[in-house]
């Protein structure tokens, strides 16, 4: 029985916990991770620019590595969809997420149509290309996919035009498209960083000051609830889309996985679980600092805090136990290991959706409605 371990120390060594400090910690965590992603997006932009200017194996490898680094960083944030990162339907949300990484709505055919039509050259890139054909999801295809085929069927304008592109032209277009897409990702990353950054728009302070007078969160509970409800990601995205769907489809190719081209599906899940522990336990080294475990301890639910930590660690261990480089190989060679990971994640989501939501009195609806 340990409960949370974060909080500000008082003179006598005891820990003084407050919901505003917890909210500030959540905000600081998001701000720190977004800052990290902005740095990696900057590096990705530079690497892709180099790749466009000097397209060789070395520059391509560098661009791909920069993509992996950026995606690893984003996948931690992906579980923190609160504040400006969240969809516009969530309190405080500014729709940054889907504009940076639109999975699972990424549409390869739509990307190939844009390649054929050179839509990526449009002055207003984001207006010309829907979120399902830009962002990191599109960049992954553009940097990693080397096949000459198209996914577009006969009803698509690209179906006939695609084979007419010669390999050199197609690759040149993909590089240019990647550069344009990464440029927009970087612009969004900068804007998101500004939104969180304490030295700029400071959404961290918006979270800390939740309560009367706060124009975004009228109560601390409302702000804490948006962070808690963001954990639905673990259930509906991580468990259902990233794991159950490939398991049930019996897929042995990467086609039904999140990372179809870069082979990072397992790494993405590992990063998601890292993000989960940062929210549950704290964002510091070895997950120190304030997290939901401290709130649970504060209301007297130390056992639940310990249960969640144990389950999160077990899920990380299940991910680490998959020996194959990525999930497609694991599903082919050792499906039980992937099922074990899914089950471990399901154990957490059950606890989150039941006792965790009940204990902290969260209402799991995006739009609050009446309830008696």
């Amino acid at each position: 029985m340990t409960g949370g371990s974060g909080g500000a120390s008082s003179a006598d060594g005891s820990i003084v916990f407050s919901r505003s400090e917890l909210l500030a910690a959540f905000g600081a965590c998001a701000a720190e991770r977004v800052g990290d992603f902005r740095g990696r997006a900057t590096a990705l932009d530079a690497a892709v620019t180099t790749y466009v200017a000097t397209p060789d194996d070395a520059s391509r490898a560098a661009a791909r590595q920069a993509f992996r680094d950026a995606m690893d960083s984003w996948q931690i944030i992906d579980i923190m969809q609160f504040g400006p990162t969240a969809p516009g339907t969530v309190i405080g949300g500014k729709d940054f997420r889907d504009n940076i990484y639109g999975w699972p709505r990424i549409n390869r055919c739509a990307i190939e149509e844009a390649i054929v039509a050179r839509s990526y050259e449009a002055a207003d890139f984001e207006a010309a290309l829907l979120a399902n054909r830009r962002g990191l999801g599109a960049v992954e295809y553009l940097l990693f996919y080397e096949g000459a085929d198209t996914e577009c069927g006969v009803s698509s304008s690209a179906h006939a035009a695609w084979p007419m592109l010669d390999a050199q032209d197609r690759e040149q277009r993909k590089r240019a498209y990647a550069a344009a897409a990464v440029g927009r990702v970087l612009a969004r990353a900068n804007a998101l960083d500004q939104a969180w950054d304490p030295a700029q728009m400071n959404f961290v302070q918006t979270m800390r000051s939740a309560g009367p007078g706060n124009t975004v969160y009228q109560t601390p509970q409302a702000a804490i609830e948006t962070v808690g409800l963001a954990l639905f990601y673990v259930d509906q995205v991580l468990k259902d889309l990233k794991l159950t769907l490939p398991i049930d489809a019996g897929c042995v190719t990467a086609d039904c996985l999140e990372s179809r081209y870069a082979g990072r599906s397992k790494a993405n899940i590992r990063a998601n679980l890292d993000g989960l522990r940062r929210i549950l336990e704290g964002c510091g080294t070895d997950y120190t600092g304030l997290g939901f475990d401290d709130l649970l301890a504060d209301v007297g639910a130390v056992g639940l805090a310990d249960t969640l930590r144990t389950q999160a660690i077990a899920a990380q261990a299940a991910a680490d136990a998959i020996e194959e480089p990525d999930l497609d190989q694991a599903l082919a060679a050792d499906k039980p290991s992937v099922v074990a990971l899914r089950d471990a994640v399901a154990t957490i989501t059950t606890t989150i959706k039941t006792q965790f939501f009940t204990t902290l009195s969260f209402e799991p609806s995006i739009i609050p409605t009446d309830n008696d």
Partner: protein
């Protein structure tokens, strides 16, 4: 003996038919109509029509009402606009009788579209609308009375007041009896959970999780609900009782905002216990008509009144029995939810669930894990996950989908886990049961597992913790 019975009966008829000032019921009509208007405006302006009616790809239906047609988005919006207009017509008393009858049908129809929208106070609105169809509350303070002088009346028969009082009493008493549980009275759950989450509220917040506060609130709520009707009925305590009504419902409104219009409805509804002339005193209107009870022997009981009395008796009997039906199922209704709806268990439990459907094709042994999120919105999923009949309903839908996809005869099992009042999640539905082969109905569902017999947790804030 027959003479005595006849005398009692005639006295009863006389009491029911005794004229009472119409003012209080007219005021109730105006306030009720206004509440309906506000409720419709809230739906139209808060995005609830999309969230509750248009967004769901699959609607959870009331048992026996699967035949109710689903409205298109445009029709749904039009019906809520119509609800608002009808509420306005009821408030001003224009075309009152058809308006309130239509209000009952439209509002009830909208509730029947999806069980996930069920709320006790929506049910109460439907019942009030149905009762007002028979109460000529438009004979004063209405446009109808202004336009048609022949319908004007200064009084209404006393039964009009009694039937409304009965309805309000049913709500309060059952809401109180629902709190007579160990969780509520001994462990102060779920109030302890709810109050602990509201410590950030201004002024009162810091006190909400102090030791004993949840217990005091739990007992206060229980005693209020179970006794308030008596105090409202007794003239000498009525004033203080109504102040308690205002205080209690103001507290629930500010502490538990999701309770929505319920406090407003009850604050209005409780006025039916007032003296029949109270609005005249408040509005300094003309003095109430002098009314004297007609001698019993001279009251002519029309055949129509007798029929109405029988119908009212049946209605009242149903209103008493329906909330009690949960006891026929045994066990903890807050867990198995059989008999939960229409029983006025207002904010009686904190409950969240997680369900995964496991579909298995016995022909080849293939298995799928199906998430409810594939079919339901979060609001629907939240309701479904804690209500076994809705779990069954979705299981049937999933089985039909698999059949349509060329896999007839699949087994559908549910991994359903539920946390009640903060307890660790327990299994709600027997995972061995093939739900695709279970029928819904009012009989006891034997595949629902017993409620956990552990005590709910006692949350107590640790203001200072030492590392």
């Amino acid at each position: 003996m027959t003479d005595t019975f006849g005398t009692h009966r005639e006295r009863l008829w006389a009491a029911l038919a005794a004229p009472r000032d119409i003012a209080a019921i007219a005021a109730f009509r105006v306030a009720f109509g206004a509440i309906v208007v506000i409720s419709a405006l809230r739906f139209l302006s808060y995005g609830w029509i999309d969230e509750l009616y248009n967004k769901p790809g699959f609607h959870l239906r009331y048992w026996g009402f699967g035949w109710v047609p689903l409205p298109s988005p445009a029709v749904t919006t039009a019906l809520f606009v119509a609800t608002g207009v009808l509420g306005l017509l009821v408030a001003v008393g224009l075309c009152y009788r058809p308006a309130v009858a239509l209000l009952f049908f439209v509002f009830t129809y909208l509730q029947l579209v999806d069980v996930a929208t069920y709320l006790n106070h929506y049910y109460l609105v439907s019942l009030f609308a149905a009762l007002l169809v028979f109460v000529p509350a438009h004979r004063a303070a209405s446009l109808d009375a202004r336009l048609r002088p022949e319908i004007r009346a200064a009084t209404l028969p006393a039964w009009c007041t009694y039937v409304l009082r009965f309805q309000v009493a049913v709500v309060y008493v059952n809401a109180g009896l629902a709190k007579a549980t160990a969780d509520w009275l001994l462990h102060a759950q779920p109030l302890n959970i709810w109050l602990s989450a509201r410590t950030g509220l201004p002024v009162v917040g810091p006190y909400l999780d102090l030791p004993g506060v949840a217990h005091v609130a739990a007992w206060a709520g229980f005693l209020f609900d179970t006794t308030i009707v008596l105090f409202l009925l007794w003239r000498r305590t009525r004033g203080v009782a109504y102040l308690a009504v205002l205080g209690f419902h103001a507290a629930t409104h500010f502490l538990f905002p999701p309770i929505g219009m319920f406090p407003v409805i009850m604050v209005v509804a409780a006025t039916v216990f007032f003296d029949a002339s109270w609005p005249r005193r408040w509005l300094r209107a003309a003095a109430p008509p002098r009314v004297a009870a007609a001698p019993a022997a001279r009251v002519a009981v029309a055949r129509r009144l007798r029929v109405a009395a029988v119908a009212a008796g049946v209605y009242m009997l149903l209103q008493i029995l329906v909330p009690l039906r949960s006891h026929l199922y045994g066990g903890n209704v807050l867990w198995h939810e059989q008999g939960m709806r229409f029983s006025w268990r207002v904010m009686a439990r904190a409950k969240n669930g997680s369900v995964t459907f496991i579909v298995r094709d016995p022909r080849d042994g293939r298995q799928w894990h199906v998430s409810p999120a594939k079919y339901l919105t979060r609001i629907q999923e939240r309701e479904m996950a804690v209500q076994p009949d809705l779990i069954l309903q979705l299981a049937h839908h999933i089985a039909r989908e698999f059949e349509a996809a060329g896999r007839p005869g699949v087994e559908v099992h549910a991994d359903a886990r539920v946390s009640l009042n903060g307890r660790p999640a327990a299994v709600l539905v027997d995972p061995a049961t093939d739900l695709a082969r279970e029928q819904d109905g009012i009989g006891r569902k034997r595949w629902i597992l017993p409620a956990p017999d552990t005590e709910p947790p006692h949350l107590r804030r640790a203001r200072f913790r030492t590392l």
